[in-house]
């Protein structure tokens, strides 16, 4: 008998799979195309029409954060959907799982690779956004300074510009965009454990994406219309369980309106996203454990 030196969970193994997955993903053309396209879109929001500086910053944030949200989500789905089918098709999964690697370690490693990719993507887009926003703020500040008014008025005006441009609320906004993308990545991984093709996974995810965004509105409407019978309530609860309320992660509207984001609200939303993501990862682990390769 060989002495047992096996560890149930090894960080080294997960890290090896994660870095390898990350390398694999950064070589995908889709990643480069999506990232470049998103950066261009964010950059070009400078040239949007403007009437007043408040409106200018509003449009800029609306476009840039909206673009970030869509592109990170798209990236999460597209990058994750192919991972497992590709490994099965190439039979690389046999060589990996024939090593003393637990199936759950393999899954976690794959997901960690995606999360790393999403982090890089979000950081790149976020940096682009901040640069654009900063440039616009400077321009508006210069223009305001050239106007003739009293020193007090000028000070107030400058402060107003600063307040509506770069402010601390952008950070939780971007953080939630990232968390939403991670959640979608975990959900895609789950779907791909029982899907037979990556096309199926992608289609299902597009479907989930739209339901996830629309359900909050639909729920309000339904509850108003038909009162709140228990059947309706149970049904809505079930839908909410299966399809995450993706709209909850969109703080864009909130910060554009200039309202500060309460810390408690941010923490609650972030925790919800992480909770959903963890549940999907666990479910993926359960399905993958029994999967015939």
């Amino acid at each position: 008998m060989i002495e047992a030196r096996h560890r149930r969970f090894s960080f080294v193994r997960v890290l090896a799979i994660a870095t390898n997955t990350f390398t694999e993903l950064t070589r995908l053309k889709v990643f480069h195309v999506l990232l470049i396209f998103a950066l261009l879109l964010i950059g070009s929001s400078v040239f949007m029409a403007r009437f007043s500086f408040q409106q200018e910053f509003q449009i800029l944030k609306d476009v840039a954060l909206g673009a970030m949200s869509i592109f990170t989500s798209l990236l999460a789905v597209v990058a994750t959907a192919r991972l497992i089918p590709q490994d099965i098709e190439d039979r690389t999964i046999y060589t990996i799982l024939a090593k003393p690697v637990a199936r759950f370690e393999y899954l976690i490693g794959k997901l960690a690779g995606v999360l790393l990719l999403l982090a890089i993507g979000t950081l790149a887009m976020g940096a682009m956004f901040l640069i654009v926003l900063y440039a616009c703020e400077q321009t508006v500040l210069h223009e305001t300074a050239r106007q003739t008014m009293s020193p007090e008025q000028l000070n107030d005006a400058l402060r107003a510009v600063r307040a509506s441009a770069l402010n601390a609320d952008i950070v939780p906004c971007i953080a939630l965009i990232y968390i939403k993308a991670c959640l979608l990545g975990a959900l895609t991984l789950f779907v791909s454990t029982f899907a037979t093709t990556s096309v199926f996974t992608t289609v299902v995810m597009v479907f989930i994406y739209f339901i996830g965004h629309l359900q909050a509105t639909a729920r309000e409407y339904w509850l108003q219309q038909s009162g709140a019978g228990w059947i309706t309530r149970t049904f809505l609860a079930l839908v909410a369980l299966i399809f995450p309320d993706l709209q909850a992660f969109n703080l864009v509207d909130g910060i554009i309106a200039g309202a500060a984001i309460p810390l408690a609200f941010f923490v609650k939303t972030a925790a919800l996203g992480i909770f959903y993501g963890a549940i999907y990862t666990l479910l993926a682990g359960v399905v993958f454990y029994g999967k015939e390769l």
Binding site: M1, I2, A4, R5, H6, R7, S10, V12, R13, L15, A16, I17, N20, T23, E24, R27, D90, R91, T92, Y94, T95, I96, L97, A98, K99, P100, V101, A102, G290, E292, L293
Partner: protein, 285 residues
């Protein structure tokens, strides 16, 4: 203590066919033991259940009935794979990695420490003859080289058992020769080898014992020489024998009631001819 390297007991595997009321019985009531240190060949035509059996032994596919063990540990346990290397059928690796990177990746999965990793990668690359190609990406590897990096990957953790699914399929004669030499080398080091193949001639020279699968059933099993020996016949190979001598032998044979069945010129195998011709051609260049 003679614990078998691989023990398969009463194994049956049934694949359901989706949307249809029928099933595929890939393996039926299979019993198999591979002793430590031997080279065991699982033979059979395509679709006879060889790959399925090997995957079940490695815990990649579940059993319908029965169980499999590696060195006494159930295949379903992750730790049963600690002392095993596996080369799947026509393997394919991450093609953006170089040979050395690939081996480092698999070494990490085996839990090799940083120091032993570097040493093992060099050793194994040397062993399979890919030291020169270590920094080339796998996208530029030939089929034979991929097979050899696959073998290297299986050997990275100094396993006690190595499982090879069709190791010589699709590789040219020279490459297949090298792989068979490697298997003999592994056996000399005391590593147990379980391999599957449908290329019988190639298996013949490396296997100690073979089992023949047909339709998921083990139809024959035994020591190779016993299986293929023809009990009451003997071969005699002579060099520079004169016609006279041959004639005398024939008469002697008839006198002692033996029967001469065949009388022919010795031939070389086509493989040996091929190898001789191609290596000469190589050395001329």
């Amino acid at each position: 203590m003679s614990e078998p390297a691989v023990a398969v007991t009463e194994l049956t595997k049934v694949f359901p066919v989706p949307w249809r009321r029928q099933e595929i019985v890939a393996v039926q009531n299979l019993n198999l033991r591979v002793e430590p240190g031997e080279v065991y060949g699982l033979l059979g035509p395509n679709g006879s259940g060889k790959s399925t059996t090997l995957k079940i032994i490695l815990g990649l596919v579940s059993t319908t009935r029965g169980q499999t063990e590696i060195f006494g540990r159930n295949s379903r346990l992750v730790e049963s794979r600690e002392a095993v290397g596996f080369l799947p059928e026509s393997p394919y690796f991450y093609k953006y990695l170089t040979g050395a990177e690939t081996l480092r990746f698999f070494g990490k999965l085996c839990g090799l420490s940083r120091a032993s990793l570097k040493k093992r990668v060099d050793e194994v690359l040397e062993l399979v003859g890919l030291a020169d190609a270590r920094d080339r990406r796998l996208s530029g590897y030939s089929k034979g080289m991929l097979q050899r990096i696959g073998l290297a990957q299986a050997l990275i953790d100094e396993p006690k058992l190595i499982v090879l699914d069709e190791p010589t399929a699709g590789v040219d004669p020279a490459g297949s020769r090298e792989i068979r030499d490697l298997i003999v080398d592994l056996k000399r080091r005391g590593i147990t080898v379980l391999l599957s193949s449908h290329l019988l001639a190639q298996v013949q020279e490396v296997c100690d014992r073979v089992g023949i699968l047909a339709g998921g059933v083990l139809v024959r099993e035994g020591k190779l020489e016993e299986l293929i020996a023809i009990e009451n016949q003997t071969e005699l190979v002579l060099q520079n024998a004169s016609d006279n001598l041959l004639h005398e032998i024939e008469t002697l044979a008839v006198e002692s009631h033996a029967k001469l069945i065949a009388h022919r010129r010795s031939t070389t195998t086509l493989e040996r001819l091929f190898l001789e011709a191609t290596t000469k051609h190589h050395s001329k260049e």
